[in-house]
Symmetry: C2
Subunit: 95 residues, 2 copies
């Protein structure tokens, strides 16, 4: 999953947490933060601390890869793909 915004990161964390059958409280304890922090981050809190985010990812066995990407040939490539993914995910949750 490509991560471009805090909201996308929050969605990844939440999905993975649920997949692992953890509730926010036990997850928070596991990474040493408050439940409040988990709530805000899962909602896309943009000013969350980098270090805590990395700990959260690690606790959920999510690996982060940084790679320099080729210049995307097509104009809409980067943005369109992400927007579609976000919309699709949003729809899925409501329906």
């Amino acid at each position: 999953m490509l991560i471009r915004t805090p909201a996308e990161l929050g969605a990844v964390l939440r999905d993975r947490r649920k997949k692992l059958k953890l509730d926010q409280s036990t997850f928070a304890k596991r990474i040493g933060v408050s439940r409040q922090w988990v709530i805000e981050v899962e909602h896309g809190h943009a000013r969350a601390e980098l270090g805590l985010i990395l700990r959260a990812l690690d606790a959920l066995d999510i690996r982060l890869d940084a790679s320099t990407e080729q210049a995307p040939a097509r104009e809409a490539t980067r943005q369109a793909i992400d927007i579609n993914a976000i919309v699709a995910k949003a729809r899925k949750k409501k329906a």
Copy 2:
């Protein structure tokens, strides 16, 4: 490149910035932060804001991928690899 700590992220940002021939000032302006922020983040500042970090990565055309990894078969796999990499990098800088 696998990102596991703020220091690793900082190193990635610095390397990429230099590869693109940007100095800290122009880079800072490009992402809308102070030069001070760039300095601290490149040095591994753990409490940097997630949103600014993502903007910095985007400005340097670094993409971030989140993926759930398989349970590593060997015991030491994950930790050992990273610790070695970090130590090696630290040594290289001093020498």
